[in-house]
Amino acid sequence: MIFYIAKRLGTGIVLALLVTLITFLLLSSSFEDVARTILGPSATPETIVGIMQAKGWDRPVLVQYFDWLVHLLQGDLGVSVYTSLPVADSVLQRLAVTLSIIVPALVLTAIIATALGVWAAARGGIADRIAQIVSLVGYLVPGLLLAIGLVVIFAVQLKWLPATGFTPLTEDPAAWVRSITIPVIVLAIGGIANMAAQVRGRMIDELRRDYVRTLRTRGIPPRKIVLQHALRNAASPALTVMSLEFIQMFGAALIIENVFALPGYGSFAFNASLQGDIPVILGIAAFGVLLVVVVNLLTDLANGWLNPKARVR
């Protein structure tokens, strides 16, 4: 088991390195532009060369990458070209913000979507109709529209929730919950629409399986069959859906961060790309890949726990 995890993480690290290398190669053409931006309108060819030499950007690309790698191994991801803030700290800080809206959104999605899907599959009739309508509404309603509506009602009019900004959990838990409420709801709506349909489908399949019938003949109550047996077997594919959902949410979170002025990962990446802040971009890419790898690993482990057949011996 440990070996399996180690192997996966190892592969993940290799992947992260590959991604950062490719990214670095792609971005290496913009060093000069960054130099110009730092120098401003008064840049002359000499000062540009001067800055590039000072920052080590005139060296061969692979040498620079290797240097970055060496520093990485020492835990140093460098500093931002513009703000001189350490990359590792900034990236982690921003990542924490984004995760603190994505993870609750995912949990909320999982709970509600599962409840809805199971209810629809195990009840049929009205429940099924309702679930389908909820899904439809979730697809149709643009998240942004919902976000605005919620902000206007709850933040501006009622002043229950903040309209912008983010309070870290460590600073004030209550304020943190308030600051993430609307973003989480908006993120979750889209996720629920999709996952509920998935869960419903899996559950319907599962409930038609032979063992369900056999369990019924044993006199085991329907509720237990649905929630303990069928759901557990249906959960495994649903987990895969959730991990894909997680990665999707990063994209959606970027837009939400924009609207709510949240200092998150996506907007960090966006600004860094706009400015060509290469150390930051590399840090973001590296972390991004590692995050995906870890999420996939966790999903597989959870799958293994849920589904004995999928376990690694």
């Binding site: 913009s30 000069e32 532009d33 960054v34 110009r36 931006t37 730092i38 120098l39 401003g40 309108p41 008064s42 840049a43 000062t47 001067g50 800055i51 000072a54 513009y82 703000t83 001189s84 803030l85 900034s90 800080q93 605005i148 902000v151 206007v152 933040a155 501006v156 002043k159 903040p162 309209a163 912008t164 900004g165 983010f166 924009n258 609207v259 709510f260 002025a261 200092p263 960090f268 600004n271 706009l274 400015q275 060509g276």
Partner: protein
């Protein structure tokens, strides 16, 4: 018709009676303008929305603009601009004086100023900061281009020697170039993120999120503490106008710029509105004035045609919500060069424009023009305007980090910009000087060279005034630019906080005052 503000006589005295003038300015200069005793205990924390955050707080890398809200609270600047009149006024420097030919500037510092560490602010600090900014490649370096040396004559006197008179220099002392850094920590690793300054506030790094929000705490040991009523000053970076409006309505901030059309949606009993006039100018900058790559643009008739093609009134009303005034000159009504009469030079007359273009023989020409987030609102209108006179615009998306090189590359014949007001000398330099950043292809000719010769050698502002006016007239006739509108900025404030004045002054906490 000239438009000299009442202050002129005082400035005249300054030039004529050197020593007496020193005393006079010291007495009646901006630094000691009688101010209400600030009810510092009553003033609430000030929290504003800004559209940009400072990248670096290192004195050599400071950027002017809304970023100044943060760094100007941490660093004192040698001079400042008066809240009510916009005039240059003493701040950390209680007086300043040029020699005859403008090659020496002497600054006298206020006594008993301290950095937040307790170290005294002395001439050595100013010298160290300035020399460092001069040596460090960056945005600030060009401001010291004409500086030969900076020396400390004594503890409180600084002498700056120039290779030639720089008419912009003193105005820059109210901006980034005038920030005073602490020599003990200028070169430390933290200078960019957590610097030591002698300004009215210190940065509470623990409470701040760099890039998102900055919390500044007032220094009680600041030499002019009484003039700053707000116990804390929070700057929140909110780029999106809807987000900042939401924050304002929700009470998360108590001052923000608002689009004029939404004023009515704010509760009039709770909010005050203040308008800063002519904060910036929107204009089309003709880059290829010599017509090297785009011969059409080297032709005066074509440039004039462009000026005729723009329906300034409609643009002001439609795109800019009527918040500002139309203009056909780049010099600002905030300064003293602006000439109302010049605004009748180019009527909105696309037919005439088309005729001019045809006469010049350039019908059908198309020009590439950079497309950036600033141009979003105007692209369709400008394309239409050019089409109306038989020319074409091809908008090319340019990512911000390539904006600089794009302009200097010569690939683009013109560009659309919105720039903020600083001073008349700065405007002259920017737009018409061969070294001006609004003139990246470094165009010049004999006439322009002549004007700048005079400007760059006349120390007395009044004496130089006629030359500036001639330059303005020439610039408008030659149509090197197509200025469109001066833009006002509307601020909405609450909690008894109001704008200190209507002048387009640098973005500092002094913009706000408490009326409690």
């Amino acid at each position: 018709m000239s438009n000299f503000p009442r202050k002129r006589p005082r400035a005249f005295a300054l030039a004529a009676l050197a020593s007496v003038a020193l005393v006079l300015t010291a007495c009646s200069g901006g630094g000691s303008t009688p101010e209400k005793p600030a009810a510092a205990a009553d003033a609430p924390p000030l929290s504003i929305a800004a559209v940009s955050a400072p990248n670096s707080l290192d004195t050599a890398q400071l950027v002017d603009g809304q970023q100044m809200f943060v760094w100007s609270s941490i660093y004192d600047t040698l001079l400042k601009r008066d809240d009510k009149t916009g005039e240059l006024a003493p701040n950390a420097a209680s007086s300043w004086k040029y020699n005859e030919d403008g090659t020496e500037l002497t600054l006298v510092l206020e006594p008993d100023m301290t950095f937040s560490t307790g170290d005294p602010v002395d001439a050595a600090a100013v010298v160290a900061t300035m020399l460092r900014s001069k040596e460090t490649p960056g945005i600030l370096q060009p401001k010291f281009a004409l500086v030969d040396d900076v020396t400390a004559v004594d503890d409180l006197t600084v002498k700056v020697t120039f290779s030639a008179f720089d008419p912009q220099f003193v105005y820059n002392l109210a901006l980034a170039a005038g920030a005073i850094g602490d020599p003990a920590s200028l070169d430390s690793a933290e200078s960019a993120t957590n610097p030591v300054g002698s300004g009215p506030y210190t940065l509470d790094l623990a409470a701040s999120v760099p890039g998102t929000s900055y919390v500044l705490k007032k220094r009680d040991d600041y030499w002019n503490a009484d003039a700053y009523p707000f116990p804390t000053f929070t700057v929140r970076v909110l780029q999106d106008p809807t987000a900042s409006f939401n924050a304002l309505q929700a009470g998360e901030i108590n001052a923000a710029t608002v689009q004029p059309q939404v004023k009515s949606q704010l509760d009039a009993s709770a909010f005050e509105f203040g308008v800063v006039e002519a904060q910036s100018i929107a204009f089309i900058d003709i880059l290829d004035r010599a017509g090297e790559k785009f011969p059409a643009l080297g032709n005066q008739k074509v440039r004039q045609a462009i000026n005729h093609a723009i329906d300034r009134e409609s643009m002001l009303k439609g795109i800019f919500a009527g918040s500002g005034q139309t203009t056909e000159q780049i010099f600002s009504p905030n300064g003293s060069v602006w000439d109302d009469a010049l605004n009748d030079t180019y009527d909105y007359d696309p037919k005439l424009g088309k005729k001019l273009v045809e006469e010049a023989g350039f019908s059908g020409e198309t020009f590439k023009i950079p497309s950036t987030f600033l141009t979003t609102a105007v692209e369709p209108t400008l394309s239409q305007a050019f089409a109306d006179i038989g020319l074409g615009l091809e908008w090319v998306a340019v990512p911000p980090q390539q904006a600089q090189s794009a302009l200097q590359s010569g690939e683009y014949g013109l560009t659309f910009q919105i720039t903020g007001y600083n001073s008349d000398p700065a405007d002259a330099f920017f737009h018409y000087s061969p070294n001006g950043f609004g003139n990246p292809l470094k165009y010049t000719n004999e006439t322009l060279a002549g004007y700048f010769d005079t400007i760059d050698s006349t120390v007395d502002a009044d004496a130089a005034a006629p030359t500036y006016r001639e330059l303005n007239k020439y610039g408008v006739e030659q149509a090197y630019e197509a200025p469109i509108v001066f833009l006002d900025t509307t601020w909405a404030t609450t909690d008894d906080i109001v704008l200190s004045g209507t002048k387009a002054n640098p973005a500092t906490v002094r913009m706000f005052t408490f009326e409690g």
